[in-house]
């Protein structure tokens, strides 16, 4: 069951982890909108350590505004970036 529905504003956690994880630094702490719920998948952050990766974790496609990501962004204000983020990295915003 997905915690966040499409259209919901979410914040990507800014916690730092030394372990392998699927959130690049440039989106940590940023706020965006759930573009879609992608489904549930075995977790690569666990598989990376030779675990099974179960239980499956919900994956979301999150849409961020380019202008909010890059202070010197000079493209169109409506430009967006979409990135897929697992649920345990998302918070309500």
């Amino acid at each position: 069951m997905a915690r966040f529905a499409a259209g919901r504003r979410v914040r990507i956690s800014d916690r730092n982890e030394v372990r392998h994880h699927r959130v690049p630094a440039y989106v940590k702490g940023r706020t965006g909108v759930v573009e879609r719920v992608c489904g549930a998948y075995d977790q690569p952050e666990l598989i990376a350590y030779s675990n099974s990766g179960e239980p499956p974790q919900t994956l979301y496609r999150v849409r961020l505004k380019q202008k909010e990501l890059w202070s010197d962004y000079d493209g169109a204000p409506a430009d967006t970036l979409e990135i897929e983020i697992f649920e345990h990295w998302l918070e309500p915003a």
């Binding site: 392998h20 690049p24 630094a25 598989i47 990376a48």
Partner: protein, 109 residues
């Protein structure tokens, strides 16, 4: 090497950071690079390694200065070694001895 990497962020996590221009020059794949590639395919076929996430994680766990210095397939080789030692397929001592023996023969380790 980036000089503005925030503290605590791995050497692989470069998105958005200023860096040197990319070297886009191509080179022919060398024999040892093919062997590293083949080794990973065989390890996955035998389910010793089961997912590219394991390779990725091993690469990310290389020391930052090592990560910066190694080429693409050298990182693969380093990660495969990390995974195999963790799983007890080989010991670090066995690896070290073998590398020393190959070096002594005057071949690339």
């Amino acid at each position: 090497m980036n000089d503005n990497r925030p503290e605590g962020i791995g050497p692989h996590d470069l998105g958005g950071l200023a860096g040197d221009p990319l070297d886009r020059s191509e080179h022919d794949v060398t024999h040892w690079e093919r062997r590293v590639d083949a080794m990973l395919i065989l390890l996955m076929r035998k389910e010793v390694m089961t997912d590219p996430a394991q390779l990725r994680r091993g690469i990310e766990s290389l020391a930052p200065d090592v990560y910066e210095r190694l080429s693409y397939y050298e990182r693969w080789a380093g990660s495969i070694a990390i995974n195999l030692v963790e799983q007890g397929m080989v010991t670090q001592e066995e690896l070290d001895q073998r590398i020393a023996a190959v070096k002594a023969r005057g071949e690339p380790a």
